[in-house]
Amino acid sequence: MKHFNLPVSPATVHWGYFSKKVQPAVTLRSGDRATIETLTHHANDDYERMIANDPGAESVFHWTREHKAVARRGSGPTEGPFIRGSGEGIGVHLLTGPVAIENAEPGDVLEVRILDIRPRPSCSACHAGRCFGSNAAANWGFHYHDLIEEPKPREVITIFELDTSGEPFARAVYNYVWTPQTDPDGIVHATIDYPGVRVDHGTIKKRENILTGVKVPARLHFGTMGLAPSEADFVSSIPPSYTGGNIDDWRIGKGARMYYPVAVPGAFFSVGDPHAAQGDSELGGTAIETSLTGDFEFILHKKNDLGGTSLEGLTHPMLETEQAWSVYGFTYPNYLAELGANAQTEIASHSSLDRAMRDAFRKLRRFLMTVHRLSEDEAISLMSVGADFGVTQVVDANWGVHGTIRKNVFRCD
């Protein structure tokens, strides 16, 4: 077993997409471990607190008229003229990786264990050692066309501080309404439409004393973890799909084991979109987005060894925690295959919980029948009385419903 370190730098991140074409940041073997730094793509909502004097973050977010350290952000075109910028922001998450796994082949399953998660403290002189995050109630939020207060519509950034002195929790520091921001290349971003644009705090009005007395219990987790899909070379990081990605389930935290079907040789695992806390549904469009560092262990399950294990027949991401198994249903289980050439943009206009529920039901039924050898009738009865379905997210284009079955159901004398 080897332990690798993967710090963030322009060379170790890719921004806004999964890709089988990106040079791996590191290659390791089944059983190896790695410490991986991740950055939130919302750090520029408060540059001072979340980027300044942090060499890793500064190197990745560096963007001047002369030099943009990570030019491509999203799976969109990289040749101008641009509407928003290179990659066009079709996909937004800063992902560290890919981590290639030796000997991984399509049909295998990659198990990723999260051994630990730690927040990334601020390096700025004023805030050193404290940890901050940003929540954007954004234009892709569930609420955006259903606002009751003026001005309508509006996007709002809320900056949170994470307190880890005791039982960790987050509290709001201030918020502001998004104002048009001009990036170093001169493109004006009237809404939050391209990641990593530094917000000029001279243009916004900070409102303090918000959410006073409210403590949000921390749920450190990675919103986006997954493998490169085989269908396209560059795939938007926003819609989750059969190889994982932006699942946005807060249960994918310390102690969790995620299983992903391998779609391309080497698996190509990437991780990012770190969250300090999120509710089921991620209603406003984002969680409390906070840079985090994780310790991971990778175990490759070869295709021929899956029979008779919990991974038999797995064609979708699955979570195992100490207490439960969860499967992830999506509006489209594999939107890339189902929606054809324009899938990455089409998916946003098909979002529906009803289809996601249907998918979660089918996946859980399959799990119970294949892995636990139940008959269909048994599986359906058990799902009605012993499984819980919840709303994972309604903001990632391919909406999610998770189906969870507690492990203690199966522990019988």
Binding site: H143, V214, S381, V409
Partner: protein, 798 residues
């Protein structure tokens, strides 16, 4: 990928912003009048008198284009008038749906039947009275929409009523069709349709402006005959209706009356009989009248003798009324009842709100209190007990007209025995020897102790399943009246304890059993993997207490055996090919029991009551299946021991009922049922009078609010108040249009309101907090009105 427009992270919503949904659920009670004024204002209307803006439940779908605004409104009774905007511009088109309206103009009143189109001038003193509910499509077109074309000198000083027909009919249908698909239309489609509506309205307005108002007809014979026919129409229920009486009432001689009929080739007797049969025919084919028995309908049209009616009807229409009604129900069924739809047939239930109390639900004086409490206002809390038996339950429906089983005071505690309607799946284990259960389920060829099961007609003339038709299935114990409870109050129901009801059959003495049915209304039913497809499966579970020696063995359920449903013949001889009527005893020999099911699987318990309800205000008989603002079939397992539900009181006395006991259920209740297990609950009931709610979590409550030790759980539904939203169609429509997406929206709006009004947050704070800390989950996808709940941890505010 081409370098063209992209729409991934921020889909270009700019143009779609012209679509706006509105629901009063987003607003606190105080803010509703102003919000509603805005809704009316977008289509050029306003509340008819200042300061009387409507503040009840309302929904509206609105879409606009330059100069054109279309809104489909569903709200309560109110009067609206045009916003004064000068004499220019096209009149406002108002199309009432479901019910007629009254057009007031100066001092005069005019009744406008449903389907007629109203055109209101933008000045003048007319107003429109929606007597029951405001259900209408409104189109407002201002000169901006005409793109510089001159609308001509429209002299439109008076409101006009346009009967269906010709261009007006095309226009009305277009309004209706557009309003139904408002959300789905693409921007280009909408722009085209909006312009077409504007053009049609312009043409119609011109036609009417050119025509003089209806001139006064001379008192021709036709007019008198018309008046006489209307008089007859009003008195069809009078079995002794005679020509002399009608003639006298109209001030003419009987001879002249007969002559008038002869003039049109008819005679009085024949005409009256024909009208009676036609009206009865219409009622029998109208699912909206399905709650009435055939003899009720016959009586209504002057046929005192139902055998005579039956003969006459068959003579006229070739089919006896009963067969005719069933044929009509079946004809309506395939198109309108997707598999898995429970409850009333589609298009059913118009005017349910006006129907008479059912025969079994006579309003009666309060029964005497179970304890000898005195009448003083401040008495010490007392304890009451409602044992379950046939006379103490209502099966499958809620009703504001039921007489209470007990009256209790605020602060009192009450123990309520409840039975699962699934006990009949294994009568040996769950009914035999239990006198309460035997009384409720008692059903022989000669006698059925609880006849009505469901909100359907007593003569089962819709599907023939049985009295009540199984439109609603839960055995509810109660109702219990709460002293002094009035609409606007909030009832707090604390669940102090829940204990299972053990078998009283000596063979199984003391053991506890439950049943779970993967039924035809389950979420899985349309997509079985393997045959036979489809099928219904009953699984009988035993509920086991934990044992000390195994620390893992908390109380849990284990499957005993299962069987596939086979057609069951009930004691009255009706065959139930599917699980379509509750309480049909399953004869052990009629099914094949399969043992060793769910081997090695143990389900930790979550005892709770699926149904806790107060009586709804809208109609008399309400199907117990779809949950709504009054509570009902919430099917949320968090309603267990130690938790509390707050319910808005809608009728005097509140009328609390409890039933549908569950040993355990998962979020989703996927197969259609939980482990249904008879249980007894002990509750404390606290009445919070209107006006004392300020600052309380239940302030401004318009939905069932659950409080557990650790959380607030808000209940979102596809249709938060389906009875008000769909009006007459509610009890059918709610089954057809449920969606998790709608339920999620409702849960979001309720949580936003809770955080803003109860926790004092701004909208921006509320949304940030919901994103970071509120958990939304699937409550159920099987109860007609699907549920999503939002959970707010109390820890956030410590």
């Amino acid at each position: 990928m081409s370098g063209t427009r992209v729409a991934s992270i921020s889909p270009d919503w700019g143009d779609a912003m012209n679509f706006r949904p509105f629901t009063s659920e987003s607003y606190t009670q105080d803010d509703r009048p102003e919000a509603w004024r805005d809704v009316l204002g977008t289509v050029g209307l306003q509340p008819a008198s200042a300061g009387t803006s409507y503040d009840g439940h309302a929904t509206a779908l609105h879409r606009s284009a330059p100069g054109i605004a279309l809104t489909r409104i569903a709200a309560g009774s109110q009067t609206v008038a045009p916003l004064p905007q000068g004499a220019d511009g096209l009149p406002i088109a108002v199309l009432p749906i479901d019910d007629g309206v009254i057009l007031r103009h100066g001092g005069s009143h005019r009744i406008v039947p449903v389907g007629h189109l109203l055109l209101l001038p933008r000045c003048g003193d007319c107003s429109v009275v929606f007597q029951r509910d405001m259900r209408a499509i409104v189109l407002s077109v201002t000169p901006d929409a005409l793109h510089g074309r001159i609308p001509g000198k429209l002299r439109f000083g008076e409101a006009r009523v346009v009967a269906p027909g010709g261009l007006a009919d095309i226009f009305s249908r277009m309004l209706d069709a557009t309003a139904r698909t408002l959300e789905m239309l693409g921007d280009v489609e909408w722009a085209t349709v909006a312009q077409a509506m504007a053009d049609l309205l312009l043409t119609i307005a011109h036609q009417l402006a050119d025509t003089a108002p209806d001139g006064r007809h001379t008192a021709s014979q036709a007019a008198i005959l018309h008046r006489i026919c209307q008089a007859i129409e009003r008195r069809l229920e009078d079995p002794d209706l005679a020509p002399a009486a009608v003639a006298q009432a109209e001030g003419i001689s009987e001879r002249y009356l007969q002559k008038l009929f002869e003039g049109v080739g008819d005679n009085f007797t024949h005409y009256v009989r024909e009208r009676r049969l036609q009206r009865a025919w219409a009622d029998l084919s109208n699912p909206a009248q399905a709650h009435r028995s055939i003899s009720e309908i016959a009586y209504r049209y002057g046929f005192a003798d139902s055998a005579h009616f039956s003969r006459t009807f068959r003579h006229r229409f070739g089919l006896p009324p009963r067969e005719f009604r069933q044929q009509e129900a079946e004809r309506a069924a395939p198109a309108s009842m997707p598999a898995g739809q429970r409850g009333w047939p589609q298009d059913a239930l118009a005017q349910l709100r006006v129907h008479q109390p059912a025969a079994t639900a006579k309003r009666a004086a309060l029964v005497s209190r179970t304890d000898a409490a005195d009448d003083a206002d401040h008495v010490a809390p007392t304890h009451h007990h409602i044992a379950v038996e046939a006379s103490r339950v209502h099966w499958g429906y809620f009703s504001r007209t039921l007489s209470p089983q007990a009256e209790i005071g605020s602060g009192d505690t009450i123990t309520i025995e409840t039975l699962t309607q699934h006990a009949s799946d294994d009568p040996d284990r769950m009914i035999s020897g239990d006198s309460g259960a035997e009384s409720v389920f008692g059903w022989t060829g000669a006698r059925k102790n609880v006849d009505r099961r469901g909100a359907g007609p007593m003569d089962a003339s819709v599907f023939g399943r049985g009295a009540g038709e199984g439109f609603g299935v839960h055995i509810c114990t109660g109702p219990i009246a709460i002293r002094d409870a009035q609409p606007g109050d909030v009832l707090e129901v604390r669940i102090l304890d829940i204990v299972p009801r053990p078998s009283r059959n000596p063979q199984f003495e003391g053991r506890v059993f439950g049943s779970s049915v993967a039924a035809w209304w389950g979420y899985h039913y349309n997509e079985f993997l393997a045959g036979p497809k489809p099928r219904e499966v009953v699984t009988i579970y035993e509920i086991l207490a934990g044992t000390d020696r195994d620390d893992d063995a908390a109380p849990h359920a284990r499957a005993l055996y299962s069987y596939r449903w086979e057609p069951q013949t009930d004691p009255f001889g009706v065959v139930h090919a599917t699980y379509d009527y509750p309480g049909v005893p399953v004869a052990p020999g009629s099914v094949k029991r399969r043992h060793a099911v769910l081997d090695g699987i143990r389900i930790p318990l979550r005892p709770h009551f699926g149904v806790i309800a107060v009586a709804p205000r809208e109609v008399d008989l309400v199907d117990s299946v779809p949950p709504s603002y009054f509570g009902g079939n919430l099917d949320n397992w968090r309603l267990g021991k130690g938790s509390t539900v707050y319910l808005p009181v809608s009728v005097p006395g509140a009328l609390l009922s409890v039933g549908d006991p569950h040993a355990v259920q998962g979020d989703g209740e996927l197969s259609g049922t939980a482990i249904e297990c008879s249980m007894t609950g002990t509750f404390q009931v606290i009445l919070h009078k209107k006006g004392s709610h300020t600052g309380q979590p239940y302030a401004d409550l318009s939905y069932p609010l659950i409080e557990t030790e650790t959380d607030w759980v808000l209940t979102g539904f596809s249709h938060p108040n389906y009875l008000a939203e769909f009006g007459a169609q509610g009890q059918s429509e709610v089954y057809a249009t449920s969606s998790l997406d709608l339920a999620m929206k409702d849960a979001f709006r309720k949580m936003r309101r809770f955080l803003m009004s109860v926790k004092g947050l701004s909208e921006d704070e509320a949304i940030a907090l919901m994103s970071a800390a509120v958990d939304f989950g699937v409550t159920q996808v099987v109860d007609g009105n699907w549920g999503v709940h939002a959970i707010l941890s109390k820890r956030l505010f410590d």
